[in-house]
């Protein structure tokens, strides 16, 4: 047996993984090789040191801290869920308001509606509903133009565009979902 192999077996011996015959071979090598014998004494000392190492008591209040952080985490999840629901309602609102605007107004050129979009962008944060209303109206105008031109192709294009926008919107909204899901809801 070579010294390298002997060293590999030392580790296995400490874990009780050597067969009786292998134990004998290793012992024989150690008897005839002073450098491996010295190393083995260090391995044994190390093993003893680690085996008898005292355990640490966990700090008092660890449990209470974990439960407190858990409650905070849940409160954040609920807030996150409310934001998600808000975004969904807004998204649907835009389409509904578009339809309403289409029903309530007569025909008007698309360009005359553009100035509405400027203040809408300016107050976007504070007047989310207004933005939704104006955007809805703009969509309504697009629909009216599409219908007044009596072009079935344009109407179809609008329908496809609206579906695409809605799908993209829902994708954005639902991507936030996994972060807001706790095990209790799984």
């Amino acid at each position: 047996m070579g010294c390298n192999e002997a060293r590999e077996w030392m580790s296995l011996r400490l874990d009780g993984q050597l067969e009786a015959a292998e134990e004998g071979q290793l012992s024989e090598h150690l008897r005839g090789c002073p450098s491996c014998a010295l190393e083995w004494s260090h391995w044994q000392e190390l093993d003893g040191l680690l085996r008898t190492a005292p355990a640490m008591a966990p700090p008092e209040g660890l449990l209470a801290l974990v439960m407190e952080r858990l409650r905070q985490q849940r409160a954040r999840q609920i807030a996150g869920s409310l934001v998600v629901i808000g975004l969904q309602v807004t998204g649907l609102g835009v389409l509904v308001l578009g339809a309403v605007a289409y029903c309530l107004h007569g025909l008007a050129p698309v360009l005359s509606q553009v100035p509405y979009l400027v203040p809408a962008a300016r107050f976007a944060a504070a007047h989310l509903l207004m933005v939704a209303g104006v955007l809805g109206e703009a969509i309504g105008v697009l629909m009216r133009v599409a219908v007044s031109s009596r072009s079935a192709l344009l109407a179809l294009a609008y329908a496809l565009l609206a579906a695409g926008v809605m799908a993209a919107w829902l994708r954005v909204v639902f991507r936030r979902r996994p972060a807001a899901r706790g095990p209790a809801g799984a």
């Binding site: 260090h42 190492a53 449990l63």
Partner: protein, 201 residues
């Protein structure tokens, strides 16, 4: 006391008392693992908290075939190893590294001389572990403080049994070499007795 599996099922349905019982049952092992891997009580406490939050978030992914303790300890070990890797990228020692360690309840109950001895032993062990890269440190800690088998360690760390054997062997080789050097320099005695040890760090 309800058994761990029942507690886990109840925690899954949102029962906080059941989850608190699980934390109470595993806080000792988790805290000790974090302490051995990270080396400071402050970091260990924070890591133990983070471990339990992760456990809570992943309760629904727990595979009943696995031992619950192994599953929880694996989450703690992975978190600590990530933390050690991040720490390695930061230059300089964290503040808590140089702060004296607060004595724990267990030690406070002991007589002063025993407490000192306990403190010295802990320090010696942490000095030893500090010589190991995180991958080796993890197997040593799991082997000695958790009596984990090669197979359990392989499952927990997502690697093979032969990789575990070789890591344990390498880790012991590094530690025994350090211990040998230290013993030799202590035998030489004198005021500069820790030179060999410092040179190794």
């Amino acid at each position: 006391m309800r058994d761990e599996r029942t507690l886990l099922q109840q925690a899954l349905t949102g029962d906080d008392t059941a989850f608190a019982s699980l934390v109470a049952a595993f806080q000792g092992p988790v805290y000790n693992l974090c302490y051995r891997l990270l080396g400071t009580p402050m970091e260990a406490e924070e890591a133990a908290q983070e471990t339990f939050l992760r456990v809570y978030r992943r309760l629904h992914t727990y595979d009943q075939a696995q031992k619950l303790s192994s599953w929880i300890l694996a989450i703690a070990a992975h978190y600590c190893v990530d933390r050690l890797r991040r720490r390695r990228r930061v230059v300089g020692l964290p503040v808590e590294e140089v702060l004296p360690r607060q004595p724990q309840e267990e030690e406070m109950a002991a007589a002063p001389e025993e407490r000192l001895l306990h403190h010295e032993r802990q320090k010696e062990i942490q000095d030893l572990l500090a010589h190991l890269p995180e991958g080796y440190r993890t197997v040593i800690v799991l082997r000695y403080w958790y009596d984990a088998s090669y197979e359990e360690m392989a499952e927990m760390l997502g690697t093979s049994v032969s990789a575990i054997k070789s890591r344990l062997h390498r880790a012991r080789e590094v530690l025994a070499a350090w211990l040998g050097e230290r013993r030799a320099s202590l035998a030489a005695a004198g005021p500069g007795r820790d030179v060999a040890r410092d040179g190794l760090q």
